[in-house]
């Protein structure tokens, strides 16, 4: 403030001096005296102003402290939090309520054979099983919304966007509510959800280690078993992890069908255990059982996207309907290794599942005749995925199916297995820039379809919004 004023004064002084150079000596003296007077005046006035300013500031400060003083107890701890700035939100996976996340997936596949004609002899495919469309196509675009309802319930919605007959359609894939506050380690889930059988069944496609599901999941579960129902889950209070679960579902979706028993058509039972060995190893093993009743269950349209209208019509003309019971037993084993448990740098995952099923009932042929069918089938896979350094993972997988002979009646039907067991060999490499992005290259030698097939695919998976869970 003061320097500014002095500056102005000096600037004026310079101007006047310059103009005064031409003036006689006496006038110059008078001007000098006048200027000196002005300067003294200004300085004293500035000093007065400064005094008043100081006084005003002090007064304001006093008022402020007298207002704040009763609220905080002096002296305050300088490291303590500002009460307004810290919120408690750790229960939720993000700031927004509810959490919103979107998964983007896309792919390019090339095949030797036409994937539209793909079928595995002896194992008519259902649901979303079968190869992805040839060429460029959008994978599942999935919207996830979740939040705690209140202190006792949490809710989850997965709504994928699909292309059906060239038009976008929104679907309800999962929509469930689960209890948070039941006692004794119990929880109840209700709604539509992926069944908790097996290791892979309830994993969403963006969490798979390969671009597709192993053969037994495709053949026995239509990729993934999903239905409307109730699940009761119990967590044992023991040192060793032990989880038991039971589900009862409507029985509408493959391998069930027709919602028999007045809409209580199928149920599952499951037991799972696991643990650690030191810091670097952990494992999980489980066994599960699915009993599904099928009432006029249609199979044989094994294509992921049903945007081939003419083809659907084919199957409507020639449905393969099954009525009977499907029993499925699944055994899972997963072993994970990461030095000191620090999986971000380096890790290895081995996983394997074995599935056995029996279907007992009648197949109804196109001409309306019923053929009794009682056949045991099996399938299994082994896979290993290694991350040698951050961001890169490499995996190998072998999957295969086998079937008993269903009977002479089934010769020349899709239910008659080929002489050689269906099998595939796959390798993949993926790169993840962050937790939220992944690009994957996969090659599969398919010896499961009618003819051997070389399949090469490129896939992307991106997620925005809510932070996905690091499930085991």
């Amino acid at each position: 403030m003061r320097t500014l004023h002095l500056g102005i004064i000096w600037a004026c002084l310079l101007c006047t001096t310059a103009s005064a150079l031409a003036q006689p000596e006496s006038e110059l003296d008078a001007l000098r005296a006048e200027l000196a007077q002005m300067r003294a005046d200004y300085e004293s006035r500035i000093a007065q102003l400064e005094e008043r300013l100081d006084a005003a500031e002090q007064k304001a400060a006093e008022q402020q402290t007298s207002q704040v003083a009763p609220q905080t107890t002096p002296p305050t701890d300088p490291w303590q939090p500002d009460p307004a700035s810290n919120h408690t939100t750790s229960s939720s996976t993000g700031l927004a309520n509810p959490d919103l996340g979107v998964i983007f997936q896309g792919r390019v596949w090339s095949y030797d054979n036409d994937p539209d004609d793909y079928q595995i002899p002896g194992f008519p495919l259902a649901g979303e099983a079968g190869p992805a469309p040839e060429g460029i196509s959008l994978g599942e675009t999935e919207i996830n919304i979740s939040a705690n309802v209140d202190d006792k319930f949490t809710a989850w919605l997965t709504a994928p966007l699909h292309i059906h007959d060239g038009e976008a359609a929104i679907e309800i894939e999962e929509a469930w509510v689960e209890t948070l506050a039941m006692s004794a380690g119990l929880s109840l889930r209700m709604g539509r959800f992926y069944s908790n059988i097996g290791y892979l069944n309830d994993k969403h496609s963006h969490n798979w280690d390969f671009a597709d599901q192993p053969l037994p999941y495709q053949a026995f579960l239509g990729n993934q078993h999903l239905d409307d129902g109730l699940r009761l889950r119990w967590q044992a209070p023991t040192e060793l992890y032990l989880e038991l679960g039971a589900e009862i579902t409507r029985g509408e979706r493959y391998p069930a069908g027709g919602a028999s028993h007045s809409g209580f058509g199928s149920y599952t039972l499951r037991a799972r255990t696991g643990g650690d060995m030191g810091y670097s190893h952990s494992w999980q093993a489980g066994i599960s059982y699915l009993q599904a009743d099928a009432d006029d269950r249609a199979v044989g349209h094994g294509h992921e996207e049903s945007d081939h209208a003419d083809e659907d019509a084919d199957h409507e003309d020639n449905p393969l309907l099954f009525t009977g019971q499907s029993d499925l037993v699944m055994m899972e084993f997963v072993w994970k290794w990461a030095p000191n448990g620090n999986s971000k740098q380096r890790n290895f995952v081995f996983q394997s599942e074995y599935l056995w099923r029996n279907e007992d009932g009648n197949y109804y042929m196109a001409d309306g005749s019923g053929l009794p069918y009682n056949t045991d089938q099996q399938g299994w896979y082994l896979q290993a995925v290694y991350q040698p350094f951050p961001r890169w993972r490499f995996g190998v997988r072998y999957d295969q199916l086998s079937s008993d002979y269903p009977g002479d009646d089934f010769v020349d039907t899709p239910l008659m297995p080929a002489a050689d067991d269906p099998r595939r060999y796959s390798i993949m490499a993926d790169w993840s820039n962050s937790e939220f992005s992944r690009l994957r290259l996969q090659y599969t030698l398919d010896q499961a379809g009618l003819e051997d097939d070389n399949q090469l695919g490129l896939q992307y998976i991106f997620s925005i919004g809510a932070h996905g869970a690091h499930s085991f």
Binding site: D77, W79, Q80, P81, D82, S85, N86, H87, T88, T89, S90, S91, S92, G94, D151, T154, L180, A181, M182, S183, A184, G185, L186, L232, R233, W234, Q235, A236, P237, T238, E239, L240, Y241, E243, L244, A246, L269, R272, T273, G274, G275, D276, Y279, S282, W283, N340, G341, N342, S343, K344, P390, S434, E435, I464, H467, G468, A469, H470, S471, F472
Partner: protein, 299 residues
């Protein structure tokens, strides 16, 4: 089915009646603090160890069974455990330790959070909008969390509340003395310039008055890239441009060693939590060791 479960529960009921307070700590520093404050009245488990990046943990079976049996869960919070803690809580089926109950303690709620972002976008990497969660590198934060932790222990185990109070007072006295010592030694570090692998150290920097001049990660959470390291080499061409390059034990040593060899700036491994180095065996020795390592590098 329900009947079977009921019978199993009855059979297991005696196992549930444990005298100890079962404590599930997400990170080793909170397990160590719980041991200080609870002594043999508590049984602690840490979900992660000092050689693990606490963000990249999976909801393993063993952790689910620990959450199931826990009386008190203590985690740094501020989204550090966002990838796995919500899932553990959901699978653990233990209503006594849900957020909002006395059995759930989010440590970062009781300290002054730094780097609280007003507007975040993941192009900036895996940033935590609720502030930097690595609060344990300032001993004053440990002190503040200790008050709350002891309070919770006393609430959950009322029979021993006086003992918890005594242990807290004893701990705080020893801790405050230790802080005085560390601050005297640390005065020499005031104003030193730090290149950090990841933004894991801002509370330490804030406490000791260090200045973070760069991070090896160009984008938080994404491993250092060759391009970014090359640009750092341009910026810090000789040993006078910064004083330390620091990293935690679970971070790859390659980027810091690479930069150190070319610039002459010393690369240091600092324990981010208890167990991070052979010397950092408890909370006191953790800070002793951090200061030792910084001062030794200083020469």
């Amino acid at each position: 089915m329900k009947k079977v479960l009921f019978v199993i529960i009855l059979l297991l009921a005696p196992l549930l009646a444990e005298a100890d307070l079962n404590i599930f700590a997400c990170e080793p520093e909170w397990a160590a603090l719980a041991d200080e404050l609870g002594g043999d009245m508590v049984k602690t488990n840490s979900a992660t160890n000092a050689l693990q990046d606490p963000h990249y943990v999976q909801a393993r079976p063993s952790l689910i069974s620990q959450v199931r049996r826990a009386d008190l869960i203590i985690c740094s919070g501020a989204q550090l455990e966002i990838g796995w803690l919500p899932m553990l809580l959901q699978k653990g089926n233990n209503r006594e330790v849900l957020p909002g109950t006395n059995g759930f303690l989010e440590a970062s709620q009781y300290v002054k959070r730094l780097d609280v972002a007003v507007n975040t976008d993941r192009s900036q990497g895996d940033v935590h909008p609720q502030g930097n969660p690595h609060i344990q590198t300032n001993p004053h934060n440990i002190r503040l969390v200790a008050d709350e932790m002891s309070k919770r222990m006393a609430l959950l185990d009322a029979d021993n509340s006086e003992t918890y109070q005594q242990r807290l007072q004893d701990f705080q006295q020893r801790w405050n003395n230790a802080i005085t010592g560390w601050e005297q030694r640390g005065a020499a570090l005031q104003g030193k310039r730090v290149i950090a692998h990841h933004k894991s150290w801002i509370y330490l920097e804030d406490w000791l008055g260090l200045e973070e001049v760069a991070t090896l990660e160009a984008v938080s959470g994404v491993p250092p890239t060759a391009n970014h390291l090359a640009s750092l080499l341009d910026r810090f061409a000789d040993s006078n441009d910064a004083d330390f390059i620091i990293r935690a034990p679970f971070q790859s040593e390659k980027p810091s060693v690479w930069l150190s060899e070319r610039t002459g700036i010393p690369a240091l491994l600092l324990p981010l939590t208890v167990g991070g180095t052979d010397e950092a065996t408890d909370l006191f020795k953790l800070f002793d060791n951090i200061l030792d390592r910084l001062l030794n590098a200083e020469g």
